[in-house]
Each structure stands twice: as C-alpha cells, then as structure tokens.
Symmetry: C3
C-alpha cells in the first residue's frame, strides 16, 4: 500500500503533503501484545465486546470490511481477502510484528495514551511509542485514580484530600487528564461545585462499597471539579468522553449539550476541555467548540468503527467547529488495527472534505493545507504544549 491509496482524491501537491504528514494522536489506549484467535479478535473489533450472533460475523460490519481493505495490505495481503485469510496472516506474522506494522503505518508522531486499561497483556506506553515510531505520553483517567483512592479505604473526611493529592501526583508525569463519567452516569452536571459537606457524606457511602463503579452524582461532580483544579494547577487539558462510543456509556445520557452549564462554569479556570467521541451528538459538540473559547472537539472514537461512512461525520463536525478547535485522536483500543483505521479514515475524510471545497471554489489550496495541518497536529501541539 502506498500513500496514494489512502488519499484517492485529485488534490494539489501541497494538500496531499498536508494529508500525509504525521498525525498527533491525542487520545488512544493500549493494544493487546499477544496472539489472538478469531474468538478473541472479533469482540475487539465490535463495540458490543461480545461474539456476533450465531450465523453472523463481526467482519460483516463497517470496521470488519475496513480491516480487510486497509489492514490487509499492511500485513502483505491483497485488499478484501477473507477474514480467515486475514487472521491466518496475522497469526503467521505474530502479534509483535503486526502491532509494529499497523502502529507505524498509522503515521503518528505522538501517542497520548489513556493507561487505565494497562495490564500485562497490553503494550506498555513505551512500547506503543516504540512500535509506532512515535513519542508516547500519558493521559490520566481520573476515574481510575478515584477507584484506587476509594479502595485504600481512607476516612470519608480524608477522601477529598487524598483524591486531590493522588490526582496531582499522577498528573505530574502526565500530559493531560481524562474523564469517562459524563457519558456513563448522565450529563446533567450543573454549574455548581458540590458543597464539601455533601461530598463527605457521599464519600462515606462510597467508601462502604469501593468496588462498585463511581456513580453518585455528587462524587462525579466533585471528581470533575478536582480534575479541573489539578489541570489548572499543572496547565493540562481535560478530555471529557461523551457520545455513545464508550463501552459502558448509557446511550440515554451521552449528549454533551447538557454539560453546557458545567463547561461555562469551568471557563474561568483556563483549562482547555476536549469533548472526545461525541457521536451521534458531534454537531452539538462542534457547536460548543464554536461558542465556548476553551472547548475543543474530537470524533476519533467513531472513525474506525464507521469506516467508509466516517467521512460524513467529519463533514458534519466541519459545519460549525472552528478549524483551530478540532483534534485527531485514534481512540485505538484492543487491537492495533483500530489505530491504523482511525488514521486512514481521518485522512480520507479530510481529503474528501478538502476536495469538495476545492472543486467548488470554497477554499484555496493554501486554506486546505493549513486547515488539514491544524487538525492533524497543530492544534494538539498548541493545546498540549508538546
């Protein structure tokens, strides 16, 4: 596969170069380091996390078709080979070689990795970077830190201080913070910080059962505000996952629009907030990025799953989002295929948007190259100060 395959449109050379330039992947997860049989591989390419129903296969999905099309050639296969042939080639090369090929084919210059799903069967942060030929830095998932604090079993009155201290400590070696609470427990976060007494009371209940995932709205609000405090102190951005993409999201409560009160209240802290995921509410997120100076948008978690359909989603983000407010994140998770696909469809989606606008005289070639560069890496470099 050559770069020409990825960018099929007739485009000026400067625009092609901008599209093929290295991407700054501001949001990813580790991938499995071990060899995977089909029964292990299939759930990792589906948002269900479960096997396909009897008589069907997850390869008959936008992501599955895209893997055969775009990842096959990276493993030395023709495009569109059958799932069995693809998985046989994957097994023959071995997971290490497959990961190296796919992560480097993505053309990423820096990975920011949410390490909450780290483990012995996953590539480490350093390995993600090494395999991908990229820098690698850490994003702290605040729910993971909270869980660790809760499991330590402090007194309720100490919970607040421990949480702040632990978030600060973990953030000292990280480049950003991330929260998944908003889409898991509803978005109706108001503009107000919860009162200390209410947090302590809720913490008492929480500490009686620390293994249960955090769900109390007072504690969720407290966690987010503590994350804002730490991010402000350290000059770090905060990623807020919204939309249906998170595997444990409640599809009834993932619209970022009801976060507006919270987002407005956070603005004076000067912390950049990136709305990550957002689909199918990505137009709402793009609007928030247009009206709130500190808010950014990244639809990465949908790119690999929507595959050939993702260009329309990118097009909808570009309806209202200022071009200096859009970021690329692969949201890579489980298998390295998802990283390569996200990068492929980011480039193909922007190529299609640019070609349509150039053909119709809406943008100049210089506009196209500048905008593609901003979204691919410039905005993230400015935001993460890397």
């Amino acid at each position: 596969m050559t770069a020409d395959d990825v960018v099929a449109e007739r485009l000026p050379e400067t625009v092609r170069e901008a599209l093929l330039a290295p991407l700054f992947d501001h949001h990813s997860h580790p991938v499995r380091r071990d060899d995977l049989v089909r029964a292990q591989f299939e759930p990792l390419i589906s948002r269900s996390g479960a096997p396909a129903p009897p008589g069907t296969t997850h390869f008959d999905s936008p992501a599955g078709t895209a893997i055969r099309r775009w990842c096959g050639p990276v493993l030395g296969l023709e495009p569109h080979v059958s799932p069995a042939v693809y998985l046989a080639a994957r097994a023959e090369l071995g997971a290490a070689e497959v990961n190296r090929r796919l992560l480097s084919a993505a053309g990423v210059v820096a990975f920011l990795v949410d390490t909450a799903e780290a483990g012995p069967e996953m590539l480490s942060l350093a390995e993600m970077g090494r395999y991908g030929g990229a820098a690698a830095d850490e994003i702290v998932r605040v729910e993971e830190v909270e869980r660790a604090v809760a499991e330590e079993g402090p007194a309720a009155v100490e919970y607040l201080g421990r949480l702040f201290d632990e978030l600060a400590t973990r953030s000292a070696r990280a480049v950003g913070l991330k929260t998944v609470s908003a889409c898991r427990h509803g978005h109706y976060l108001g503009p107000d910080r919860p009162a200390r007494a209410a947090v302590i009371a809720a913490a008492g209940r929480r500490l009686a059962d620390p293994k249960t995932p955090l769900a109390d709205p007072v504690l969720v609000a407290h966690l987010l505000w503590t994350a804002v405090d730490v991010a402000r102190d350290r000059g770090l951005p905060l990623q807020i996952v919204t939309g249906h993409g998170d595997p444990e999201a409640d599809p009834g409560g993932t619209d970022p629009a009801p976060l507006t009160g919270f987002l407005r209240a956070v603005r004076p802290a000067g912390v950049p907030v990136i709305l990550v995921g957002c689909y199918p509410y990505h137009r709402h997120a793009a609007h928030l990025a247009a009206v709130l100076p500190h808010v950014y948008v990244d639809v990465g978690p949908t790119l690999a799953h929507a595959g050939a359909g993702s260009a329309a989603i990118i097009g909808e983000v570009l309806e209202l989002a200022p071009f200096h407010k859009v970021l690329f994140g692969s949201a890579c998770r489980g298998v390295a295929e998802m990283c390569h696909l996200a990068a492929v469809f980011h480039r193909r989606g922007l190529a299609r948007a640019a070609a349509a606008r150039l053909d119709r005289g809406e943008w100049s070639p210089a506009d196209a190259a500048r905008i593609i560069h901003m979204i691919g890496s410039g905005n993230a470099r400015r935001l993460y100060r890397l």
Copy 2:
C-alpha cells in the same frame, strides 16, 4: 420502467442483480382497496393525515414528487406528470389494478403485515400477498390485543392472565409481535418488570375506562414484558416502533436511546428486537444494533416519505450498524404507492452507498453483493425463520 431506471449507478453485474433481487418486507400495513378521490388520496401520502394548507398540495413534498416520478410509470405514464394526470390515470385503472401493479412492482417476496389497521376498506393479508405476488404473514400489534382484552372488561386480577393468553393465542398464527407504545408514551422504560400488585392496581384504573388508549407507564411496561414472554415462548421477534414516523408518536419522546435499560434487561430472553422507524434517531438505533447482540434496525417508515433524500439516511445507518443487523420494511400504509416507493428508495439508497464504496475501493464487488443481499432479505429470513 425497467430495473435500469431504479439502479442508475454504474455497478458490476453481480451487484446490480443483488439490488434487483426480491425484498423481504418484514413490516407493512394494509392498503385501501377502494377508489380514492384527490381529497382522500392526499392525506394518505402525508404524515399529517390532514389536507394541505390552502393554496398548497401534498404533491409538493418529497413523497408527492416521488409518486409522480416512480409510480407514474407503473401506471403507464411518463415520469413527472402532473398530480391531476396521475390521479386521473389511477381512477381509470381502478384501485384493484393500481394495487396489483404497485405492490408487484415493489418486487417483494414476502410481506409481514401489521393487521391492527385491518378493515373492510383495506386489502386483507391474503390479498396483499396475492396482489404483490408474495407470501404474506401476520405481525400482531400488541396494543390492539390489549385494547380488545380491556374492552372485554375482566376483573383487574384477571387482566394479566387474559392479556398473556390472548397474546399467546394471537401469536400462534403470526410470525412476529410489534409494539407502538414506546414512541407514543415516552421511552424511559427502565430495566425492571413492574410488580404484579402495581400492574393489578393500574389495570383497575384502566378497566374503568377501556376506550382510552393505553398510556399508563406501568401497564405499558407490563404489556412489553408480556410481549417478550410470548415472543420467547414462541421463538418470535419483537418489533419496537421508535422515531417520529408513527402517526400518533410524541416527537418529544421517540428516541430509542432511553430504551437501553429495557433492551439490556430483555437480552437474556433471547428475543430478537427490531427497532423500526427510528428517524431522526436512526444513528442511535444503529449504535444500539452495534452494541446489543439481539437488537436490529429498520428505517423503512422514512424511505417513502423522504424520497430522493432517503439515501443519506441509509448512509447514516451504515455508519455503525453491522450489516447483519439491518432489515428492509416498507412500512407501506394506506396506499400501495408507499410500498413501491419504499422498495425503490431502499434499492436506490443501497445502490448509491455501494457505488460510492466501490468507486473509492472500500468494498469489493463480492462484499457489495453479499451486504445488499443480507439487508434485502437474508437477515429477515434468518430472524423470522421463514
């Protein structure tokens, strides 16, 4: 009109054949058997069910334009003739001939018909099949069964048993069940079965006024759970209408996403659930089909009404829905034109999606033919075991 008109795209022969193959229409309604004057015809092609405002006509709508374009030739007219010429030809041929032509032009191999709107002025189930050259089977609308039970006037304590028995009896000769309650009375169905005592108490109130449409949330939840029980016992799928398409839907409460708790709770029953309609929340429904193994999606009720604009909607379903989770239903209602239009725009929408993906190298021709076949009939055959 030839098949070439329907599929305008340049496509490999195998893909064209897949597009023109007979469709399995898993969701339709009876159509009027009598001749209709313009004042009767117009409300039947509009979702308003009312005459157009003074000085306007429902022919100036996506569906009206599509009838002149696509149904005119089936009646022997040129495309785009005026509404008056179209209706004159319709009158001259007579309703029986018009129904025969349009239902058979749709190219359907099996109709599953919701018979809740049956009546002397409507084609019977057998006639729908005979006119369309297709098999015809029944879908039981559970609200219709509930209404009949309530009007019998049992004691509240007997209501539960009578409802189960009647649903079981009606389902014995049917191939599926269908509910319209979710979009009429709000979707915030929780994961829990209502308690027996609460159902009996609510039934007492209901039975005092059985003519009023079912709206009590406890009784709606009980009805849906009873439908799940019957569907499980008989191995039948359950259709849940969501989205704005139902004529009595409350547009503030038709999003399928808030059904997630109910859908997750139903999963262990092993009953396939098809989300029908869904527009403008079809991306939410496609997501649910992607994450829940027993959930399927069909946007049929919007195809005839959106007409030339429907390809974009099909494209959005294909963003996330696994290809083995998408079904075709014409949602035909009132006049046979709506059946033909749904079939035309299903084929044209998939033709456009396939052509775009083939032109850009995303799918192989074999992928395209296999996916088109799955959506057109294969998935429904597997699900309904027909």
Copy 3:
C-alpha cells in the same frame, strides 16, 4: 463576481433563473453602521461573541473562510485574500459602502427585521431596506416588549393587560412576531395556557426584579400565548427560535420536538408558526412541519456559520419538509457579511440539491424551478401576505 460563480452546477436555464431570483428574507437583524477594527469584527463573525483563543483567529472557521471567498469579491478583491487584506479593503471602502454592497449583493427583495437589537450604532429598518434595494418591515420580538412592560413597573394584576395591549400596539405596524424564549429557557412547554392566578403570582415576583431576563416558565408560557392571541387577531405569523443558534440559547434545551404539545394546542388559533434556526435539530423541525399544517421551518441562522458545509443541512431539511413549508431567512446579525453569506449558501445549497435530483431523474426541471421559487420567496409571500 457574477451570478455564475454562485451557482456552479450544470443546470437548465429555468432552474438557474429560479436560483438567482430575488429572495424574501423573512428573518434578519440590523447590522453595524460604523467602521470596525479587527478586534470588533472577529467576535461578530463567531457564535462565541468573544475573541478567538490566543494564537488563533475566527477567520479560521467555516464563516471566516467563506467571508474571504464570497465577500472579498463584493469588495473588489480576489477570492481567498488574507484576513488582513480583507479588513483593509473593508476599512478603505468604509462601512456605509460595504453595507450597501453586501446587502444588495445578497439579492433580497424584502427584509423582515427583528428590531430588538436596534440602536444608534445599527442600521435602521429603513436603511436596511435602502442599502439592500429591498422593502423592509418589522418583526416584533415579544421578549423585548415584555421587558419594557416589566420595567414600567405596573401592579402585577395590570401586567397581563399591559402586556397584551403593548404587544397589540407594537404589532399594529409589524408583519410578524418572534420569540426567543423557547430555546433560552427550555422547550418543555405543555399544551395548557397557564391560569390567570398563576400568571399574576409569577408577575409579582418578576416585577420585583424587572431587569433580570424573563425565565419563569409560567410567564414564558403566558407570553407565548399572549403572542398567539395578538398574532391571531392581526393575522400575523409567529416565529419561534429553536436550536443552538441563538447566542443565549441553552444547548441542553433547544430541541423543538418537546414543543409539540404547545404547537398542537396553538393549531386551532390559525396562526402560522415558523420554527427558525433549529440546527442541529432541523430534522425534528422538518418533521413537525410535515405533520402539523400550521408549522414551517427555516434553517437560515446556520447558513452563514456553516458556510461550505451548509448544503448538507439544507439537504436534511428537504428529507421530510413539504416544499411549501420551507422559508429563507438570512438571520443576518452584526455585519452585512452574514446576510450575503446566508443568501449565497441558500442558493448554493438548493443548487446542489436540485442538481443531484435532476441528474438522478428524481425531479423534472419544472419541479426544480417551482420548488426553488417557493422556498426562496413564494412561501413567505403567502404566509406574510406581502
């Protein structure tokens, strides 16, 4: 710039003529009459109303790119000149000439202007018309009238009568009424008129603090019903702003779908209601226009801001909205660029929709010309009786 630039598609001459015919702009605001430096100009082309974050510019947005492309030539520049060159030419010509050129380039035959944002630094109603070579009439924003009544400080029991009288007086010289409350304070307006006693009680609280923007749900409902009464008496339409476009909208509460109960209750009054803005809920609004005979839709407030991306939005409105229910409004605000851009992208969006349908045989050329004419001016003329 010639008209050919605007309508790039290959289209029959009659369709081109329909696209280039004068537009009836049923919803706009005054623009600034004074010369603006860059720090003043940038916030006026952004929905944030604030400066762009450090290191960025609002010119790097869909609207900013569109200004360089489409407004530059109206000022005598090449397309795509830099922001600095654009603003230098703007300064050199002076605000009066710039306003004259841009408002007349829009090709508008009548402006209906919401005068709530009038002021000495804004063009007057008469000037808007004179600069644009168009008729100009007034739309009364009902919240502005309510504020004036509240600030007079009547007794609570007199508030109701004063409000009705003042709305009637102001409407006597206007051609329509407009409300922005629905998207600012949530949409869950029920079908019932609030009781007189409840309104008086709420008015008492309001009058104690008349400077605060109206937010009490009882008073908002009362204001809307009073507006309906006045509109009915005078035969005027009522514009309801929904969607994210209003600068003070609460993005969590701008969906027009929850207005359905109110809209149904208003129907017997015979007052046409235009849902203005609507994005990203424009499909919901188009559905409401399809099912409720007195409801219309206009996505104008998004056209200038979405720029090159706006064609997709127009396409989505055309999925379900009857063609006799769609209106054009520029929503022009602050600078005349937004008026010209809205007109450009209205024409370009309809050109693209028509070309796609003509190329695929969905519409006849006569259909296209008739539909374009309806949306551009015919529907508004019928509705506003002008």
